[in-house]
């Protein structure tokens, strides 16, 4: 349904109705901006990248074959534009650290997690995502927030499906490790 709706507006833009593009911009602006922000970690740069991505997508809309979702295609442009920007900024900007969170949570900690309030869960995730490597943050957001499957993420990033799977697995372990640490600290604070 969502895919059909996008196709309808794309067809209108291709017929010369530029204003129809506003629908696509409004629909995907938050995700495009958010993904760029996860990679470049600077609001101004992310806004510029997302804008550039939308303009690039508009310019090449005639080449969009519709074999994938418009969002997949657009996020690939966002990803490539962000990576180009990071490369221009120098190797430090693309530095990827391995934080080494590989701890596994026990069932007791899981219970403690489920007792947390929504606001606390949101806070934990925000902190954990912030601590992840930019590319891992990007991948887990696509996978868990935007419900993209591994193939679509592979299309967006240009990585292999297996590579995406491994990276998401690692990111998941890191978040779980951070969650465990957070819950321990919380319990220590209470006791």
């Amino acid at each position: 349904m969502e895919h059909k709706e996008d196709k309808h507006y794309i067809a209108r833009v291709l017929k010369g109705e530029s204003d129809a593009y506003a629908f696509l911009v409004n629909k995907y602006k938050s995700m495009a901006y958010s993904l760029a922000l996860k990679l470049v970690r600077n609001r101004e740069d992310a806004e510029e990248i997302a804008q550039d991505a939308f303009v690039k997508a508009y310019q090449s809309l005639g080449q969009f074959r519709g074999s994938s979702r418009f969002s997949t295609w657009l996020y690939r442009i966002v990803y490539n534009t962000s990576i180009s920007r990071l490369r221009r900024a120098g190797p430090e900007a693309v530095r990827i650290e391995d934080s080494g969170y590989e701890e596994k949570e026990s069932s007791g900690e899981m219970d403690a997690y489920y007792r947390l309030k929504d606001q606390e869960r949101k806070k934990i995730l925000d902190i954990a995502l912030e601590k992840l490597d930019p590319d891992e943050n990007f991948l887990v957001t696509l996978y868990y927030y935007d419900d993209k499957d591994l193939d679509e993420i592979a299309q967006i990033t240009g990585l292999t499906g297996n590579n995406v799977k491994v990276k998401i697995f690692r990111a998941r372990q890191k978040i779980a490790g951070m969650l465990k640490k957070y819950l321990k600290d919380e319990l220590t604070g209470i006791l």
């Binding site: 017929k15 530029s18 409004n26 901006y33 806004e47 927030y145």
Partner: protein
Amino acid sequence: MKKQDKKQDELMRDLFIHHEISEPSPSFAERVMYRVSVEKKYDPEIYRPIISRTAWIIIAVLSVLLIFLAFYLGNGGTGYLDKFFSYRLDLDYSIPEISGLMQRIAEVYSSTSSIVLYVLAGLLGMIIVLIAEQLLQRRTLSKK
């Protein structure tokens, strides 16, 4: 998926229910649409290549056929067809005395196998067709 992985996966899904993505500035869409409006509007005519995909497939099939044919015909009576038909025309000829550039071309021609020449001719033909398509496309775009 292992039990532990499944648990972590469920945990992630639960965590992400509460996740809020960042919002761009309020004027974001406006600025994109301004940049888009500066761009040239899309021509209602949808892009169609001058040589269609089907035509390219036919050209490719014909080229392959030509190469196969060249292999079967062979060079100077050594090919499959020559062996199949037990006779062949005995044409004894000699190149007339020529000098300069023409002689060199004739030498290259006589020293190169006809299969190679067929393949080269086919490739040359395809390159010419490609260049012609590009030129026609550019001319069509510049008229718009």
